[in-house]
């Protein structure tokens, strides 16, 4: 049977996210409890989490989380890291072995900074340097897979039910201002750890429920801009699209959402002129990055979360609010279990982005 990445595997899923706008610390246990409620939406073939603000002591360093098939891959990868990065700290990621989580790879964590000389020689900006290095490791070092590489954030994922994955990675030992979680229901895979979600690139992470029908159009478009879709998953391609639109094209979150889940032309026609012109521009400029077919995603980024549905809203997604907390999930139950008394609960419309940022967040523009 072909491994993930050699074949495209569609999945159904559960997603959940939580953020404190004031930046209060949320314990990892909370998000595990939320996603566990939607147990039946996954089938034990993948679960994962992304935590933001979890590495305050290393907040200016890139935190690389890496799966290795064996020590040979690790040594090769570490040689690469040594050549290109200043490694401030490295260690195994602490886990709690369990009968429910099997076929474990070696899981390592590195806090790194690009070597200034290498960075200068590359003529790239720092983030581009890091992202290219990660793509290089993942595509060229057999048996090594960097699955998280942002600052002050980290992804934890494995093959298993999400609650077991949370327990395995001892998430109760982490506190962050925002979390996302994913339970996976692939239709056809023996499961590979790298294929679990969230999928991350730099500080962007995506949890996704859906099966996009535009996949190959999107993949072939984004691969023109230096990305390589090695996993053949929706999540991977969506992450790259977001990275491209936000980081390389410098679009705002809502404009990026208008590219990915563009309004229908008939809707655009009836908009006020300025808005109509902008949306016509965005749709015409990036036709290959429109995503169609069902999806609900939660994008995590440094300073916030964004929830987005496909424009027909073919996947469920609800948003809950309580004081400074905002909750996003496939099902209401996943919110109620961690916050029974909500101030507000609603379903965003298809294509309507829900953007929540820290009060201290300043957009790069």
């Amino acid at each position: 049977m072909l491994k993930e990445g050699q074949v495209r595997i569609p999945s159904g899923c559960a997603i959940s996210g939580v953020i404190s706008k004031s930046g209060k610390k949320i314990n990892g246990e909370i998000i595990v409890k939320s996603i566990a409620t939607m147990h039946d939406r996954s089938n034990g073939l993948g679960g994962g989490f992304a935590g933001y603000g979890i590495y305050p002591q290393y907040k200016d360093l890139y935190a690389f989380h890496v799966f290795y098939d064996g020590n040979q891959a690790r040594e090769e990868c570490e040689r690469f890291l040594d050549r290109h990065f200043d490694i401030i700290n490295l260690s195994k990621i602490p886990v709690r072995p369990s009968s429910k989580i099997t076929a474990e790879p070696l899981i390592w964590r590195y806090f790194v900074n690009p070597l200034p000389t290498k960075l200068t020689d590359s003529h790239l900006d720092e983030k581009e340097f890091v992202s290219r290095s990660v793509i290089r490791i993942n595509s060229q070092i057999d048996g090594a897979y960097v699955f998280s590489c942002g600052k002050n954030m980290g992804v934890f994922k494995a093959v298993g039910y999400p609650e077991d994955v949370g327990d395995y990675f001892r998430l109760e030992e982490y506190d962050g201002y925002a979390w996302t979680a994913h339970g996976r229901y692939p239709t056809n895979t023996p499961g590979w750890w790298g294929g679990a979600h969230p999928f991350a690139m730099l500080d962007y992470s995506i949890v996704h429920n859906g099966e996009i029908s535009s996949y190959d159009a999107n993949r072939r478009d984004i691969e023109m801009y230096g990305y390589k879709c090695t996993l053949q998953t929706d999540t991977e391609v969506i992450t790259y699209i977001i990275d491209y639109l936000l980081r390389k094209q410098r679009l705002s979150l809502s404009d990026a959402a208008s590219v990915i889940a563009a309004p229908f032309w008939s809707t655009i026609e009836n908009m006020p002129k300025a808005q109509k012109d902008k949306l016509t521009y965005l749709r015409s400029a990036f036709p290959g990055l429109l995503i169609t077919g069902p999806f609900s995603i939660i994008l995590g980024f440094e300073g916030g979360l964004m929830a987005l549905n496909d424009r027909l809203k073919l996947r469920s997604m609800v948003i809950g609010e309580k004081d400074d907390m905002v909750y996003m999930a496939s099902e209401e139950c996943a919110i109620r279990i961690i916050e029974p008394e909500l101030d507000k609960l609603w379903s965003p419309r298809g294509g309507e982005p829900v953007i929540v940022t820290l009060d201290s967040y300043k957009s790069s523009k």
């Binding site: 429109l290 077919g293 027909l312």
Partner: protein, 501 residues
């Protein structure tokens, strides 16, 4: 009288029990294949004059006529087929180059028919186009590589000129001269009603049709017939014709007999003179020369109109397209070897060029590998026969398609492939006023609108089945295609998997 070596390929069959001698067949046959014999009180016919255009068959009120392939035969020979033998007799008789019309009819593989389309089941819902919006609008033109912002941080509109198509189908180039005034009027009016474009071809733009400029693509070909500043600015886009699928590497020749008053004025050449388009543009002997013409035309049109470069699908098409994409073109049109023509040397038409499916796949992939696919749009033509072909073309990577043969069929063409004779009984490929009159544009344009509307409905149905609700999500979405009965090599060129994979 010299010996006639040839027995007619087709025979006119008349059911005498049904024939009421109304003589409509006689009156409608410009080839004079039918006549009434007053002595015998019977309709008579000469199959040797018949081109098998079905005009008489279609108009016969009692269905008394049909055309059948003759069962007269040469002694069977798998090598020396009847066709080869007949052509040798014809050339031995005339000493001339064989001429043919319309597209390559030979039994080469048709890759459209070896690709199957996907549909959603369970994991992803199909979308019902009758209930949900389904978008087939396309913008053709170069896309900006980089979003730019003004000092207020607002997005600047740096989008190069675009063509907006309500349907991903345009009418490809057919000159006024090769087809009739009424055929042109039908195409222009249909393009306007459909929100798409028709193409003047290389014969200039008749003054009556300037009013359809917003839906017109004006062509500049090697003969430069009818090209002047107002012409270049009359249309919505300018197309440089480098080649044509039916006759790559060959120019064109409109016989003087067809250059009547109107055509002479439109083409800006003397009445009765032959209009000869050279094989190359004599100012384009290389890619850098093409770039100059692209920019000359952009200068002449104030950079307000996209420039299309049309090429025939030949062996090295991917590299050529890459050069064109870097040469400033906004749109590349590729014409496959099954593309039609008003006249071409038979040997060229039947043996030169490559299938559009393979050319398209190679070009799209090559431009993506070079990261320049979004610098240009790709339009393909050369035998798009149905909405399924359109869907497959777009899934392979086209932005839109050009149709011409299908469009002519909507106007009545029966593919008799005798355009070069100028006696088109359907009023399409002729300049004889009494024949041109047979194509009433009120009927013709409506049939074109019907055809494209029907195709667009079908495209929406197929897209909905795949769970796609916008055409841009179909473009280049090769996972939606599977090959059937193709070799590894063919699959790899098409960039698709085999059915079952």
């Amino acid at each position: 009288m010299a010996i006639d070596f040839l027995y007619p390929e087709y025979e006119i069959k008349r059911d005498r029990d049904k024939c009421i001698c109304c003589r409509v067949c006689e009156r409608q046959c410009a080839n004079e294949a039918h006549w009434y014999d007053a002595e015998l009180e019977m309709m008579m016919c000469d199959s040797a004059k018949c081109v098998n255009c079905h005009r008489c068959v279609s108009l016969c009120p009692t269905r008394a006529l049909k055309i059948v392939k003759t069962d007269h035969t040469f002694k069977e020979n798998a090598n020396w087929t009847g066709e080869h033998i007949a052509e040798i007799y014809r050339q031995a008789g005339t000493g001339g180059v064989l001429l043919s019309s319309m597209g390559n009819p030979k039994k080469y593989p048709i890759y459209w028919d070896k690709m199957l389309i996907n549909a959603s089941q369970v994991t992803n819902p199909p979308i019902d186009p009758l209930r949900e919006p389904m978008e087939t609008k396309v913008f053709l033109g170069a896309k900006p590589g980089k979003v730019e912002f003004n000092s207020k941080g607002e997005i600047k509109n740096n989008l190069p000129p675009q063509l907006k198509l309500e349907v991903p189908i345009m009418f490809s180039a057919m000159s006024y001269g090769s087809i009739s005034y009424n055929a042109h009027e039908s195409l222009a009016r249909a393009a306007k009603e459909l929100g798409t474009f028709y193409n003047t071809g290389e014969g200039g733009l008749h003054e009556d049709f300037y009013k359809y400029g917003a839906n017109t693509i004006v062509q500049v070909a090697s003969g430069r017939f009818g090209v002047h500043k107002d012409y270049l600015n009359a249309g919505a886009a300018i197309e440089i014709k480098m080649g044509q699928g039916a006759k790559p590497g060959i120019g064109g020749h409109l016989p003087g007999i067809k250059v009547r008053e109107d055509i002479s004025r439109t083409r800006m050449i003397p009445e009765g003179s032959d209009a000869i388009s050279p094989a190359p543009h004599h100012d384009i002997y290389s890619i850098e020369d093409l770039r100059q013409l692209v920019y000359s035309l952009k200068e002449a049109s104030d950079y307000k109109k996209p420039v299309i470069v049309k090429i025939a699908a030949v062996h090295n098409v991917a590299a050529i397209a890459s050069g064109i994409a870097r040469g400033g073109a906004d749109i590349i049109a590729i014409d496959g070897y099954r593309g039609g023509t008003g006249a071409a040397p038979t040997r060229i038409r039947d043996n030169v060029g490559i299938p559009i499916e393979l050319a398209l796949a190679a070009v799209d992939q090559r431009l993506r590998e070079e990261g320049i696919r979004n610098n240009v749009s790709i339009v393909v033509g050369g035998s798009i026969r149905s909405s399924a072909d359109v869907v497959k073309a777009i899934a392979l990577g086209a932005d839109a398609v050009y149709i011409a043969t299908s469009a002519l069929m909507a106007l009545g063409c029966h593919l008799c492939r005798s355009c070069q004779k100028g006696n088109c009984n359907w009023g399409i490929a002729t300049q004889r006023p009494e024949l041109v009159r047979r194509l009433n544009p009120d009927i013709g344009y409506k049939r074109l609108v019907n055809l494209v509307t029907a195709w667009n409905h079908e495209i929406k149905e197929i897209m909905g089945g795949m769970g796609i609700n916008s055409i841009e999500s179909l473009r280049g979405n090769r996972l939606m295609l599977r090959g059937i009965g193709l070799t590894e090599k063919e699959l790899s060129i098409l960039g698709i998997k085999h059915a079952g994979e």
